[in-house]
Amino acid sequence: MTQLPETPVAPTRTVDAVTVTGVDKTFDTRSGQVDALTGIDLTVSAGEFISLIGPSGCGKSTLMRLIADLDQPTAGTVTVFGKSAKQARLDQDYGIAFQQAGLLPWRTVAANVGLPLELHGASGRDRTARVGELLDMVGLSDFADRYPDQLSGGMQQRVAIARALAEKPDLLLMDEPFGALDEMTRERMQTELLRICAETGAAVVFVTHSIPEAVYLSDRVVVMSPRPGRIQEIVPMGLNRDPAHAEALREERAFFDGVTAVREALHTGSPVPTGARGVENR
């Protein structure tokens, strides 16, 4: 991994990255109404890393889509850097990455990363420079002219992250970005993501199913419960996230404590069918 040429930027904005207030989301389906989210209140500070975790169907993706203005709340408001979600989308205030990398198969790695720049009319020169920078950052400079199908899943996901970072957003939205990767690649990607966040100072809303992943990455873990989707608990993590220390962290007591705390918060929301379970919260 090459060092980013620019010096790391400290979060400059003082306004909160995301403010979700009293949000409900109801879907009308053929078989009736589905309450995907009810009474969600959540604030993400600038530069903060938060994870959303919870059983399938609890509304994690829905909440993220509301922040991204890919859907509108039934009630309540979502503001992003003090603006409406729609304005923030039009202003390109966030970058987004999904579980599938979602690269365009007919574009090279470089052209995929440059897509948002191209769409927003950046000049060819600027584009080439920025794409070079980004590929450096995710360690894929040698693969600029490859096509997505010539890359492994992990590499594709790194391209998608580079693309999400193309316009230097102050907010990153990620919906299970590492869900399709194997454990080892996943750990590597997590470490890299932490480094990149430290470099860019972006706030991150990260959806995941993996407790260790949430614990390892986040400043706060938002545990959600389903039917209707509510925030069960917000578990703050007090881990030392110094990059030099990143790898060792996974084997520390504090890490395992975090995992246990999140597990218990999760199981409070949805009962576990067999065996004893902890009820204490941290």
Binding site: I96, F98, L104, W106, L115, L119, P148
Partner: protein, 306 residues
């Protein structure tokens, strides 16, 4: 057309030369086997065919019904007629095929424009898709021959300045009628093919329908479009030949097709010349789309069987 089951995406593999050669060899063998079967049946089969009840389930074997394969081939190299200036049959067929190919190409292009425009409209407005698609499907059940005279008659009234409607244009219009259908259906499927994830990505970039179309939908439609274009090309040739027969246009393969069919009593082998010609013609038309596919190969990294 509804839920066409698409095969899982497969990667095109370039076979080893030896394998490629075997494929060709088997292809040639297949043709030889067919010819042998023809001759064998002709030798052994009853001259009035195999009749069960009222139905003749296997053909007659007379020279009139089933000329010898070698006669068909040999006939290609004899002059068309005994008149001194007559070309050999194959040349006459080839010239006619070229004329038809040109017209079919025009019809194909018109079909592409019309088909793609329809697909765009249907992609843009769901209501348009619901309103038009059933009629587009229905349009292909209208027998071509029903409106060939109408097209010719309407065309003949078009005269704008120096532009005058030509017979071949009627043929091209009819060819385009057959060609537009697979293209409209294929292009629609292609334009609708991008995953939600891709369309939403474009939305997060805050770009509108046009940019999404140019940067996402059109490139994504290419793997669907290529087989549609191939089908369209074959259809354009079929349409051109039928329309030539129907409107009596001179110079094309449709014309010699009925002409030689009319002479089949005295010269049964001759009628096969234009049949071979139209096969070569159709294969050439469909094959030329393969060149297009090779040019656009970067857009076909996900292969679709349509």
């Amino acid at each position: 057309m509804t839920a066409e089951t698409l095969a899982p995406a497969i990667r095109r593999r370039r076979g080893a030369p030896a394998r490629e050669l075997a494929r060709w060899a088997y292809g040639v063998l297949g043709i030889l086997v067919l010819a042998a079967a023809w001759e064998l049946y002709k030798l052994l089969g009853p001259s009035d065919g195999v009749v069960i009840g009222d139905a003749r389930i296997l053909p007659r074997t007379t020279d009139l019904a089933m000329p010898h394969t070698w006669d068909m081939i040999a006939r290609l190299f004899d002059p068309v007629t005994r008149s001194a200036t007559a070309n050999p049959l194959w040349l006459e067929v080839a010239l006619a095929a070229l004329v038809t190919l040109g017209i079919a190409a025009v019809g194909w292009l018109v079909g592409i424009v019309v088909g793609f425009a329809l697909a765009l409209i249907m992609q843009r407005w769901r209501l348009a898709e619901w309103g038009l698609l059933p009629w587009i499907i229905l349009s292909q059940t209208v027998p071509l021959i029903a409106f060939a005279p109408v097209v010719r008659s309407w065309g003949s009234r078009i005269e704008i300045g120096a532009f005058e409607w030509q017979d071949w244009m009627s043929v091209a219009v009819i060819a385009s009628y057959l060609a537009f259908f697979p293209i409209a259906v294929g292009a629609l499927k292609g334009l609708q093919s991008p995953d939600t994830i891709h369309t939403e990505l474009m939305r997060t970039y805050g770009v509108g329908w046009w940019k999404t179309l140019v940067k996402l939908r059109i490139p994504a439609s290419i793997p669907y479009l290529l087989p549609a274009l191939r089908l369209g090309a074959a259809n354009a040739v079929i349409g051109a030949v039928v329309a030539e027969v129907s409107t009596g246009m001179q110079g094309g393969i449709g014309r010699i097709l009925i002409q030689y069919a009319g002479q089949a009593s005295g010269d049964p082998s001759k009628a096969w010349g234009p049949i071979f010609g139209s096969i070569v013609l159709g294969l050439a038309a469909a094959g030329s789309v393969a060149i297009l596919g090779a040019i656009l190969r970067n857009y076909r990294r996900v292969e679709i069987n349509a």
